[in-house]
């Protein structure tokens, strides 16, 4: 479960990116985080992944308090979250299999566990048979699927996707979002930051609308239904 209570984030240069935000995302939910540029979406993602700490209020992520989390606990917290980036962030010199294996090895998985898990996850994201391909041999959509597979491979309770379709054409974008919806159906919480109205409207999920560091809309439905008029 994710809960923000009067969360604040003011950067060292004085920019108040998040101004007293409160919301809760229950286990198993699918949530779109939307809003214009500079609305605080990326700051919230960074707060959830522990890249930055809140300057006020409380941020709870899967039982960890992000304002009081110790450096040693950070890896444990991050193992509960799978992150998907707009630019995929795959390691170019490693095969699809190795990209996933690295993520598993990093959390202490044994070679046997790695050998058993990776084919299952690759099948789940529709990349069976691509194990030995390098990222630059794959299309953008396929690379993003690898990124999804990497986020999934350690079986996290939450997936955070930061503009996952930003670099994809509409057809591939729909494929990725459908994939995330399928993952959500298996019980994983999914939070998607996006600015693509069409996709948000297509899935009819909970939408949290941010503007100038504040929540200005929070409801299930369409982008236009949540955005302030």
């Amino acid at each position: 479960m994710i809960r923000l209570t009067d969360a604040e984030k003011t950067y060292e240069n004085g920019t108040r990116a998040v101004r007293g935000i409160s919301f809760q995302i229950d286990d198993g939910e699918f949530v779109f985080l939307v809003g214009p540029s500079g609305s605080g979406k990326s700051t919230i993602i960074k707060l959830l992944t522990g890249e930055i700490v809140p300057t006020g209020g409380r941020v709870m992520v899967n039982g960890f308090s992000m304002s009081r989390i110790k450096q040693k606990q950070l890896p444990l917290m991050r193992r509960t979250i799978g992150v998907i980036f707009q630019d995929f962030r795959l390691i170019p010199g490693r095969t699809v299999y190795d990209n996933l294996a690295l993520a598993m090895r990093a959390v202490g998985a044994s070679p046997r566990e790695i050998r058993a898990r990776i084919p299952y996850v690759l099948e789940l994201v529709g990349l069976k048979g691509k194990e030995n391909n390098y990222p630059d041999e794959l299309s953008g959509g396929e690379q993003q699927r690898v990124s999804v597979a990497r986020a999934l491979v350690n079986n996290p309770s939450t997936i955070v996707a930061d503009e996952p379709t930003g670099n994809l054409d509409p057809a591939r974008s729909l494929e990725i979002m459908t994939l995330l919806e399928r993952i959500n159906a298996l019980g994983t919480t999914v939070i998607v930051v996006t600015h693509e109205r069409g996709l948000v409207n297509h899935f009819n999920k909970r939408v949290i609308y941010l503007d100038s560091g504040r929540v200005v809309g929070d409801a299930t439905g369409t982008y236009e239904g949540v955005a302030p008029q």
Binding site: R89, I91, R150
Partner: protein, 293 residues
């Protein structure tokens, strides 16, 4: 520990993927270790030669004229009990006279020299030549000893030379160690910079700092050990060549060079140790900054 193979493989992969920088790092490590090693071995050999000279610089204790030869001989056990006395040899006045005459055997005027001109004496060697002054005082206190001669000025000179060589050697070692450390650190920095994205991804999926750090530590370790191994081989060749040169030289015959086969084990150990310190230290210095994600 289950990831040991992975860390080693990654370390080796990093090393070969930055072939030129690794080559440069190993080259600089070899050069630094070779200079360090050569200077240390020169200092070691100088120290050994000086120690020999110091040992030869024995103390002479003259026995009181009033004591008979048998009573003079009786002082041996008392002298041997004096602190810092390694050994003492009795030389009778007759033996002293004979040695003196033999030294000047071309000069007939000493042939009729009476043994009574000389005194019974003991030639004393010390365990620690640095304590020559204190030992001289103790020997003088032994009843029946009339006078003690010890060349403290020569002894002090030996100590000064040895200490200066030691200080220069230590300073050079410290400077060259730092240079090697910085070069290895820069090589690892390049690797970590090249892999910063990978490090960030590993952090993001929940890797601990130690999991990220170990491959770089192994890379540094391998660079340091490769450098140490090559430096050791070259040091061996250089040492043997210099030793042969000194052995064949007419002017440097006095110098005694310790054979390399007698010292190769400690030298190898020191080179390996220095390689590990340089490699691991350098990589730890380099990786620190990149772990803050």
């Amino acid at each position: 520990m289950k990831n040991l193979g992975y860390f080693f493989k990654e370390g080796a992969r990093n090393m070969f993927s930055h072939g030129f920088m690794s080559f440069a790092a190993i080259g600089v490590t070899v050069a630094c270790l070779l200079i360090m090693g050569t200077f240390s071995l020169v200092a070691y050999n100088a120290n050994e030669n000086l120690a020999d000279l110091q040992r030869e610089n024995a103390m002479v204790a003259f026995v009181d004229d009033s004591l008979t030869e048998s009573r003079a001989k009786g002082l041996q056990s008392k002298l041997e009990k004096v602190d810092n006395v390694a050994d003492c040899t009795f030389v009778s006045r007759q033996e002293a006279r004979d040695a003196y005459v033999a030294e000047y055997d071309e000069d007939d005027m000493y042939k009729d020299l009476a043994p009574e001109v000389f005194r019974h004496r003991y030639v004393i060697h010390l365990t620690d030549p640095d304590k020559i002054s204190e030992t001289k005082l103790l020997v003088e206190e032994v009843a029946g000893i009339d006078e003690v001669r010890a060349d403290e000025v020569i002894s002090a000179g030996f100590i000064t030379i040895r200490n200066v060589a030691g200080v220069i050697s230590a300073a050079l070692i410290a400077i060259l160690l730092m240079v090697s450390l910085l070069i290895i650190s820069n090589t690892i920095k390049l690797t970590t910079f090249d892999r910063r994205e990978e490090i960030a991804i590993m952090k993001m999926v929940g890797a601990t700092d130690s999991f990220i750090r170990w491959p770089f530590v192994f890379e540094g370790l391998l660079l340091g050990l490769f450098g140490a191994a090559i430096a050791f081989g070259l040091q061996w060749l250089l040492y043997v060549a210099i030793a042969n040169g000194i052995g064949n030289s007419d002017t440097m015959q006095l110098l005694e060079v310790v054979p390399f086969r007698k010292i190769w084990q400690p030298v190898a150990g020191i080179f390996a140790g220095a390689g590990v310190v340089i490699g691991v230290g350098g990589s730890l210095m380099a990786i620190r900054r990149f772990l803050k994600v």
